[in-house]
Amino acid sequence: MDAVIDIAVLREDFDPGALQEALPPASGGAGAVATFTGYVRGQDDRGALNWMELEHYPGMTEASLRRIADEACARWGLLAVTIVHRTGRLFPGERIVWVGTAAMHRGEAFAACEFLMDYLKTRAPLWKRESGEWGETWVEARDSDSDRAGRWQAP
């Protein structure tokens, strides 16, 4: 059975409950749904955040997310994947990203969901700019994200 893949890059907020409801249910054999939601944190070591702004490369972002989703489906035999990523200015507490995976069993759903987040963070052409107590800066890519993504490569 072909996996159902749904990709969206949008400025508006999304509803995690509705997105999960739209993933294929157990009638299609899915016993397991794993989801991840990323939120704008209002505070970190540097102080309070005012806002975050997400720039992206229209067209390539969607293509890149679809490639990542295809890879996860092939690798874990998923029944469905949804990836939603917001762009534009976001404030503390707002949702940034949602990834949902449906699989027959939980091991595949969990692994694929974490893989998708790790790859999305290191491959999809999106960039964060932050304004906070420390001023206004582009977010620097973190080695820890590259390391996490590297875990999924065959040894």
Binding site: H56, Y57, A124
Partner: protein, 84 residues
């Protein structure tokens, strides 16, 4: 032949340019040659486009400098991504 070149995020800001069209000689054009040609535009261009972690894409796929170009290709240069 003509190609489009796009810049994003900090690279776009540093260059103060989000997009340009380049007319190239027909033969043996690569992403690396486009990068070298753009670096001649001035010290900022030279510095930004020689950053070792700069990413290059052609037609929405990440490529390296040896990638060969065709007329109408869309090339992009951008810093390491930070979405999610």
């Amino acid at each position: 032949m003509e190609v489009a070149v796009l810049f994003f995020a900090r690279v776009r800001e540093d260059l103060d340019c989000d997009r340009l069209q380049l007319a190239l000689a027909e033969d043996g054009q690569t992403v690396g040659k486009v990068r070298e040609r753009l670096m001649l535009r001035g010290p900022t261009w030279e510095r930004v486009l020689s950053e070792t972690n700069l990413v290059a894409a052609c037609n929405h796929e990440v490529v390296d400098d040896s990638h060969r170009l065709s007329a109408g290709d869309e090339i992009a240069f951008y810093p390491p991504v930070t979405g999610g």
